[in-house]
Symmetry: D2
Subunit: 361 residues, 4 copies
């Protein structure tokens, strides 16, 4: 049983399919939990390019290896066994043979990569986590979940590698003040990783109130509801918190184009801005190259996708108690496959902190 | 005798002033050559903030130490002697005591710095190079010009530290293709330093034809006249030169806000863009955060000002014959103080490659 | 009243001196607390070059501004007032005018710098913290201690900037395993900063047991007593903790030359090693360039001294409760000036975690 | 026809073998030129671990695709055709699936990689360039040689990716003085890439005289014969060339363990040392951790192996005339397979600049 997203803004439907024949060195995952993230909302609304509808959504998921044909190895070279609980890198087919992989060493821009739940579709098999079973094709990289509860991991879900990558790219220094724009799952995980990375203070501008409350619990030292303060007021607030200079580092996790200009203006001269919230095209925004970039001596860094290391490091971190507690309090809401449409609406509205799909409910 | 820029778009006038009393550990420079750069045009047009008109323009200059009171040391700790030919860091009073200097280590954003010919005015004394004599205040850092002809150095002039800084910040890798937007003095010096830094190919989009010819002579492998090709055509041209990907690194040296969006669009995914041409406020430009930043996984870096190291390294480089020859062919036009207004007009139009002020003509 | 170290392995003596005349823009600090660190033991034993005996030891200290003549500004440009509680950068006279300061941007190698309690001596005035009063010369950079208790700050003392600098230089990635060699004050602060920087696990090899207990309390996940295990066993222990590869990052804080070879051998291929424990010359050690460096593709980084940013960032961090608690449990032992010799012996033996000098006891 | 190295210090013999059956997506290379490098001397002397004797030496080679079965693509995704002239990454089977590949992103330390001519042996087929034909297994990455003459490329040979990697890792800044220890092929290519990277001056200490002459022709500004000057004199010479400070960057390309300590001592404080000459175990050397590392605030970086990018960037560079001329003057000596033993002796002695194997002579 799985949930099918037909595209063209049509609702998700629940379907059944025979379990697949396994190719050599592949496996069947019995899904425990998957999630509903902002990308799923974009997918429902056909806002992403290159999606082969119909698709089974759910890119980051966790489950148990139900059946293995041949051998699947972890990165230590140890074989997985049936019954092992795992997550997996949702990106498949990074080619390690193209210019982006081998010369630029920018594998998240490899043109051959396919993403479970996004650019793999039903034609490719059970390739999304909104399903009781998911097909782990040969070459998919699994990660053992020993020591990390499934629910805890899915509290972060796809925001874990995304936020970890963004924080990695942000060059936070010990003692910095980090501003996070956005308080959705990526914003919240970014707050957590920023404190883990050595920020002395983390500020968050987001909405709605329940998410800002969570932001505070996750480690934000001060929060502001952007729906109640115009851009100028928000800037004032940041300056007041930062000796009049702006944040050392700003990480944009909102999805709103204007937040990119805000990020630049809320950051101190010679600081860093990471743009990780612009995963779909919402149009242009205006910036002032003299004031916002050149005179500020600013670094602005786009951050696209994740690779194996981001998943691996996130799981390594979650094995540590002082780390996992940052996600342990996230309020999770579980939905059966049959309520996926409802879950999408609630994620869109920001009313839930984190919506999970439990295909066995 | 010196040239005074009154501000408020008024013409420059020639004046006389008694030579100053020297404070301890200061010196009087007999100016050999100064220059007319794009910033001087902005100054004439009152386009920069914080300029204490009237001023004596001319920030980067070369001359001979005419008179020294007390001791002035070079960075090796050796005293300068009267008769030494020197240039100097046009930036004075970097405080090494503020948050930007000591914590951010971003000394070009130190709020106390003063720049000869720009933020020092006539009230501060003979503080510009459009003058027969210039007052080197205590603490000004001079650089010996042994082995570097004055005219050769001034062929680059202020574009030397500016371009060197931009190239330093661009993280060019051996074998990269570098695109330079703009073919004024900063663009030309950027072409030169990009080849010296290890670029395999350098492309330049600029105008007018005489500057593009110079760009080719300086090391550009291919040039395009932007006045004859719309943005889409320019992008096509870049893609054709770069396996359809865009430049590895783009360095913007134009002054036009739209060139910033171009720079982002002409660069390959996961490449670097340096913005060094936006030294005055010409307004906003539109960018698409999804397409131009986030999905591209792009780095965009503003680059403001220069510090001592950029001057020092530029002079070190010019002592080497294989380096200096890149600037040796620049067509120089010398103007007396009395023709400074004419020189400003020609620089504005791009008709000259490099305009120098010779205060003794 | 102050403690004088005569050099030539002679004991420290308590002396009295009239309070100095203040130069313009200088101040008198009423010392609350200073410390006894490993460098003080080296000083007593005349093991450091360039020390102008007799000296007043005590480089990192905290106290209250007793008297200010003229103006002393913090890095925000705000004047200090008498009664302000402060610490200060023990390094004075970094010149910002030499090749190391201006070209290499390696100010900790500036040849003109003078260090309170080490390379300033009695001839320079009250220039050490083992004294009731200390003379803050013009240009000394003070830091406000608002929100940081003096005792908490001195629990780290000079190990704070030293360890923060070492961790900064170690390029720890989120999820890394960090090995700290040594469990003296620098080792302990390094453990703390490594966890704050994003290490998933921190290992420590040190001695004696009381310090290893503190290491565990400070955040080390596993500790080993080096006095009970030969180098081969220590290596085995590290490999067992790290999937057979070695630590991602090793930070050497021991003072023993052989620890440098150990650090290289206990680190995984393509990892980073920081050497921060070799503050005096204890002779040579053997390394195998093929096995320890080239084939390992290893980075080994010496780390010398501190600059203002390291002090500043340490204080910023300590203002945060989740940070300060890491140092809050350090067992501190306070000594009056008259027991400085005893304190030196105990520090040498490692029997105390942290020895403080309270000049008012 | 090919040359077989039996190991156990036995001489190389010429043999014949039937051409292999091609697996799908593999090819047969008709070798034009291969080379004799220092590693081949180590191989002859059984000084490397993990070599499956008997082997066919010759890791970096150039030739023409004689026969292709299936499809072989370049990194642009374009298929190779029979008749194309190519070189190839000598490293095969980098797994992109292990911890070193995916988490450390240190693919040159991937334990599964196999190197043509070194860790592939006769059992693996025609896997060395000292052969008329070489078997390009599925997954071998070839590079088109359009615009780069085979002889010019082989003038550098394996020293091209090795030196490019070392220079990449050296963080040379524009205007730096770079010291190269060693004047064998790797040393010479390092001199060339150091000048291409922006060094103002390159110094070389090596031997014998014919190689030092070549060093000068390749771009070294000053050379010293290490056989005629003791270590102390060599250090003096470097200090004289560098304002008494030492080189900004030293790249060790010698193979002698003591050169590693020299490299550290000949480099200025806070400089960088790259160790790339220690490809076999010649034993230990002594360093002084206090003087050579910690107090110097030095970075020492081992540099192992090459990946595709290093080959690719080297070929891109050689397509440029101002680059290729640096290698164009290398004196090449061609040997037939039957004189491989003689070639090995001459390479060992340093009497030849570069020895090539032409299997058709």
């Amino acid at each position: 049983m799985f949930a099918l997203m037909p595209g063209e803004q049509k609702p998700v439907e629940v379907r059944e399919l025979d379990l697949p024949e396994l190719e050599p060195d592949s496996a069947l995952l019995k899904v425990e939990l998957s999630e509903v993230c902002g990308t799923d909302v974009h997918l429902r609304d056909s806002r992403l390019a290159g999606v082969p509808y119909p698709i089974i959504p759910g890119h980051v998921s966790v489950g148990v290896l139900d059946k293995i044909r041949g051998t699947m190895l972890d990165i230590e070279g140890r074989p997985f066994a049936e019954g092992d609980r795992v997550t997996f890198l949702d990106v498949h087919k990074t080619c390690h043979a193209c210019w982006y992989c081998l010369v630029a060493k920018a594998s998240t821009r490899c043109p051959r990569r396919k993403v479970y739940g996004i650019t793999y579709g039903l034609e490719d098999g059970l390739t999304g986590g909104w399903s009781q079973h998911l097909y782990l094709k040969p070459g998919v990289r699994c990660i053992r979940m020993d020591g990390v509860a499934s629910e805890l991991y899915m509290a972060g879900g796809c925001s874990l590698p995304t936020a970890l990558h963004a924080v990695e790219r942000a060059d936070i220094a010990l003692g910095d003040t980090v501003l996070v724009l956005g308080s959705g799952p990526v914003g919240l995980s970014t707050i957590a990783f920023a404190t883990l990375r050595g920020a002395a203070r983390v500020l968050c501008i987001g909405a709605p109130p329940n998410r800002l409350t969570q932001a505070t619990q996750t480690g934000a030292d001060a929060v502001l509801d952007f729906t109640k303060h115009a851009a100028g007021e928000r800037r004032e607030w940041v300056l007041q918190q930062t000796h009049g200079r702006g944040a050392d580092v700003t990480i944009e996790c909102t999805g709103a184009p204007t937040a990119v200009a805000d990020a630049m203006r809320f950051t101190r001269d010679a600081g860093r801005v990471v743009i990780v919230g612009q995963y779909t095209d919402h149009g242009e925004t205006g910036i002032n190259p003299h004031l916002d970039l050149n005179k500020k001596h600013l670094d602005v860094r786009g951050c696209w996708g994740s690779d194996y290391s981001h998943f691996h490091r996130a799981v390594e971190m979650l094995r540590v108690e002082r780390v996992s507690k940052l996600w342990a309090g996230f309020r999770l809401t579980r939905y059966p496959l049959s309520k996926a449409n409802e879950a999408l609406s609630l994620v869109e509205s920001g009313k839930v902190i984190k919506a999970l799909i439990d295909p066995w409910l």
